[in-house]
Point group: C2
Chain length 361, copies 2
């Protein structure tokens, strides 16, 4: 297995010293930044995440910050979701699209304070799209990447750990809402959110210098809770049906195909609205169980039925808890109903598989 | 050293089987794609590149393809360089910018055939900017990423190798010009270009299925020339002063600061023109020699003089041929003249350094 070459272009994060000290053994690159992908083994990391609490370096969830007089106008132009329905303390998952209706990212938008928008992006330079729109129309906005690095606290004991650092009020925070609380005299935006189904928080660390002190405080406070460094876990996210832009959906797909129709409800004339109206889903995200042994899903696997391509699988891995290969696929209408039998073409050969009615949750 | 985690999001290329068979030992990620970074050792790869010929998987140099009635209008909007001066067979290096004059990429544009533009990009989703501009104005264009994967043939024996696969006419190809020649009955665009100073070619493989047959043909034809798999080499590129977007310049910098003023000459009202007129360079790319031992330059190194920050170093490595640490920095006017003495702050401590008048070429 090849190692990852050091360079400034693949950016370190404010938490990288903590990640390295914790013995990271696998990285990926996400938004031109290091994202830890493995500490002990994927299985050990997974069991720990589902039982205890982990601190995650998810600094790679970069913010596209929009400010200025036309900030809301720009947001309205790019959001398929009705922003009038967003509460001041709410995190809004938005499948953003281009003029043809194809997905460009699936970020979470929030307003850390009035007049400031953060679009917390999945992998991709979506800021370039936002900037292109603003530059072309001549909007009076500033589009930037601020010094904001999310730190995740994930797992069933996340509340217990966070209370020790931020106080009891953190327990009252609702899902996908944010609150501002101090650490070491510095106010930090904290949301109940995160890329796992185990519950937890994301702390928007808006000063790199605070990164390691906060990391160290969380690790120290959680010793008896079994806290350790962790990272988004492939097994857990596939079990939970958490989508990954670039893996499970791309510009080829509409939000409808990604199963995100409920987030498409803006009454305004946003970019791509016309196209979406004429692109009903011809394929849809589905949970898939694959039989037999499978290799690493490091490429798109075509899905077949009677020799005809009827979809694709884009994430797949063995689940120790469910004792099956869990997978995320996109299936055509003829095969997207639960119970449909399909064949998955891996690099190691064809495997029998079954479409399910839900993910493993 | 941590390995890189497999996932579809970090895309394999048409040449990855060849790269793996050749024993790649280091990767980086570039445009959401695997880019080999090391085979034997950086030093061995370097010596080989400067003496023989290598085949490079540079599929990560993705094309932003623009077609449609408004294609030229869109190109004129985003190009600071005068496209009227671009010959039909020419490759045009263009420092592309946003409205504030900051660089968004430094791609090479070409027209593989009339009516079709390819913008061959450095690391970054510049297609999102192009699409944002097109979507916002409502231009009649199609912006896509076609199935085009460049394969590099680099090194002093590159001509000798290419002749054996594409015929003698390849020798007549001028620098940064392209020609269309057949391989296995399929026409391929070939340019005399590449990310080294050793000479060579880039073959725009526009059908993934042709990737490995072409790779294998080049390796087989060059056995007596000592051909082997290679990749852009950090030592060689710093010696030659080849810039890397994301390392040596970012959106913070104008083309002037990156030393690219000669490519800013369009008479049209392109986006960012007004801003550039009011942003003369306050700092400039320079070659820097650093004394003593240095660690891997995996982060920005601040440059000091009398305790004041006067610039930064963003790429640095030991050069076996020149027996010194070669580096690329960006220095303020007070210290950008050759002979200026500076201090470089590495993660292992401060190092004495000297600004040079040119790179090692």
């Amino acid at each position: 297995m090849a190692t990852i070459a050091p360079s400034r272009r693949v950016r370190r994060t404010p938490f990288t010293p903590g990640v390295e000290a914790a013995g990271v053994t696998g990285y990926t690159v996400y938004n031109h930044m290091l994202l830890p992908a493995r500490f002990a083994s994927p299985e050990e990391d997974y069991h720990h995440l589902k039982r205890h609490v982990q601190v995650w370096d998810v600094a790679c969830e970069r913010q596209v910050q929009i400010t200025g007089p036309d900030a809301r106008r720009l947001m309205d132009l790019i959001s398929p979701r009705d922003l009038d329905k967003m509460a001041a303390d709410q995190c809004f998952y938005i499948p953003v699209i281009g003029r043809d209706g194809g997905m460009l990212n699936d970020p979470v938008a929030l307003q850390p304070r009035p007049g400031v928008w953060w679009i917390s992006v999945a992998d991709g330079d979506y800021w370039q799209y936002v900037l292109g729109v603003a530059d072309a129309i001549g909007l009076d906005v500033d589009v930037s990447e601020p010094d904001v690095s999310p730190l995740g606290v994930q797992g069933p004991k996340a509340d217990d750990l966070m209370v020790r650092v931020f106080g009891e009020t953190i327990r009252d925070l609702r899902f996908f809402r944010h609150v501002t609380l101090p650490f070491d005299g510095h106010d930090l935006v904290i949301a109940r959110s995160g890329y796992s189904k185990q519950g937890g928080f994301e702390i928007y660390v808006d000063d790199s210098a605070m990164g390691m002190p906060l990391w160290a405080a969380l690790i120290a406070a959680g010793e008896d809770l079994g806290v350790r460094a962790g990272c988004p876990n492939l097994i857990e996210r596939v079990e939970g049906g958490l989508l990954s832009y670039g893996n499970d959906m791309t510009r080829e797909n509409t939000p409808f195909e990604a199963g995100l129709a409920r987030f498409v409800n803006s009454p305004l004339d946003y970019i791509g609205k016309t196209a979406l109206a004429s692109r009903p889903a011809k394929r849809m995200i589905r949970a898939v169980t694959i039989e037999g042994e499978i290799p690493a899903c490091d490429r798109l696997w075509q899905v077949f039925s009677d020799g005809r391509v009827v979809g694709q699988v884009t994430s797949a891995v063995w689940s120790p808890d469910f004792q099956t290969n869990v997978a995320i696929g996109m299936l055509e209408a003829s095969h997207w109903d639960a119970g449909a039998r399909i064949e998955v073409g891996t690099q190691d050969g064809m495997r029998h598989a079954l479409v399910r009615d839900r993910f493993w949750i």
